[in-house]
Amino acid sequence: MKKVYTRPRSLKRVPFHYCPGCGHSIVHRVMTELIDEMHLQDRIIGIPPPGCSVFAYHYFDVDMAESAHGRGAAVATGIKRAYPDVIVFTYQGDGDLAAIGTAETIHAANRGERITAIFINNAVYGMTGGQMAPTTLSEQVTTTTPYGRDVNLEGYPVKMSEIVALVRGAVYVERTAVNSPANIRKTKKAIRKALQSQIDGLGFSLVEILSPCPTNWRMTPLESWQWIDKEMTKEFPLGVIKDITGKTDAD
């Protein structure tokens, strides 16, 4: 009988601790499939963040080094500069990459560091219990915006991918989602392209993934998938934001 579906080799045989309906486990699955398909298991280093996905190192069967909150891009820079033969990715949430780590992210992108940022946007701080994130939508209720995010007081949702795309050293930036089989396939394609741009030594790459957090959104998994389509993608439209991977210096 032909085997059509199996656990990726670089995904450890450990049950996920993530909540039902959480997007992390889908992204982990997609990433480990790619690590297998691109033959990277023995030459990739991942940087998981503080937060729900701190335990990513329990699931990815690759070398991993924990980072302080927001410092992923700097840690990845250090690793890559010290040992350029490895492929390095950071796995960061919205608070991590778009609030406390804004400077590290933009400057790593600007230096064109050959690293890949996997940016999970679920519009809240998950692990700490659902506080406002930089990407929280206008009027969205969170534990620290109990009356809804008031943009006059709390500012606007930060479009970090668009900001990073403006930076010269960033070569590939795409926003995807993991709320449907079609979007999951697009996510995989985007991450493949991002990792390939790093392998080719082109520059900084980032894939932002709109990811459901049913627990903190107070929704069922199905409702959370629908909320991404109906609400999140209005503020954060899906698609390729920047791709200069095909361009040469002459362009």
Partner: protein, 358 residues
């Protein structure tokens, strides 16, 4: 080997390169800029080496963390306000058992303070500095030559014990030009540390982490660090004892203050006062046993620091009440002269009746 005339900051840079430093990440701050500039000129183009002027001190220390994860000999440098920003990263380095060298060319504080020489970061350096229960080895050079020697030693100690090591200098040491002899040539290649992450080739995948949801597991990590710290205390405590054998008053001073005190003590000796000095070279571990040992013969200690009195607490702890401790300090970046300090010495010497003591 011939001597070269160099400012202290550049001396550290050259010594680091000769110790096999492969990665330097820094951010400009006075009075240590010559070091960052030296690495830009001399490290950045070396084969297998990397220099980055980072976007912040926080980024720089985290780049050092990354380079250390990958098994590189890595260093960053800054001065007091910048070192405060690096504390988060130093705590992570300590927790992850990652070697690194951090240079602090101390300036006057608190706050933005001044750019003049000070020793006001003693507490921060010797008590861990960041959050959590950890220590860093702290080396306190007092001359250009020691900047070279101790920078080299810092890299070796960091690798030997898998701990971050602080080189605690100051603005004066950094700016002063002195003749220096470099005793080592840069190594062609360094062995790769066994806990380095470079991809799981030919071995199972590996994790460098600090977080655990199990308090008992974290307790064991703390115990394990503590056992290593005990070993460091036993093996690596270093000091200089200067004219202490017949001393009735022992001056305790470190770094540039000890250099000033030495001049003062020579003055005092020429006037017939029996004064000596204990100069801790490792501030952590502090030479407590030596202080205790000295108290068998000498009962009077004068602690001299360029701050409001920080190391004095370690001297008092070491003495366990078995001696009198006096203090003279100048904070804020003021640099006292040997004459000034010798006046303080003779004041205490006569007031405490040491001239007529048996």
């Amino acid at each position: 080997m011939t001597k070269v005339l160099m400012n202290g900051n550049s001396t550290i840079g050259e010594a680091a390169i000769r110790a096999g430093c492969q990665c330097y990440f820094g951010y400009p701050i006075t009075p240590q800029n010559e070091l960052t500039e030296y690495m830009a000129a001399h490290l950045s183009r070396r084969k297998g080496c990397s220099f980055i002027q980072a976007e912040s001190e926080i980024a720089a220390i985290n780049m050092v963390y990354g380079a250390s994860v990958a098994g590189s000999r890595a260093m960053t440098s800054s001065s007091s306000p910048g070192i405060s920003l690096k504390q988060e990263g130093i705590s992570y380095l300590a927790a992850c058992e990652l070697p690194a060298v951090i240079v602090n060319m101390t300036r006057g504080g608190p706050g933005l303070g001044s750019i003049s020489a000070s020793q006001s970061d003693y507490f921060q350096a010797t008590r861990g500095g960041g959050h959590g229960d950890y220590r860093t080895i702290v080396l306190a050079p007092s001359s250009g030559q020691e900047l070279a020697d101790l920078t080299h030693r810092a890299f070796d100690l960091a690798d030997k014990y898998l701990v971050p090591v602080i080189v605690l200098g100051d603005a004066m040491l950094g700016q002063m030009r002195e003749p220096v002899e470099f005793k080592h040539e840069a190594p062609d290649e360094l062995p790769v540390r066994s806990n380095a992450l470079r991809g799981a080739k030919g071995r199972p995948s590996s994790i460098i982490k600090t977080f655990t949801s199990k308090p008992a597991e974290l307790e064991e990590i703390n115990w394990s660090l503590f056992r290593r710290y005990q070993l460091i205390k036993k093996e690596e405590t270093a000091y200089e004892a200067f004219m202490v054998d017949d001393a009735r008053l022992v001056v305790v001073a470190f770094g540039i203050a000890a250099r000033i005190a030495k001049g003062a003590i020579k003055n005092a000796r020429s006037n017939g006062l029996r004064v000596g000095m204990l100069r801790p070279i490792t501030l952590w571990p502090f030479p407590s046993e030596k202080v205790k040992d000295l108290s068998k013969k000498t009962k009077d200690f004068l602690v001299f620091e360029m701050n409001m009195g920080q190391m004095i607490e370690d001297v008092q702890l070491a003495l366990e009440g078995k001696g009198a401790v006096y203090f003279y300090g100048r904070p804020g970046g003021v640099i006292p002269t040997p004459t000034e300090v010798s006046r303080v010495i003779s004041r205490y010497y006569y007031q405490k009746g040491l001239k007529s003591a048996k």
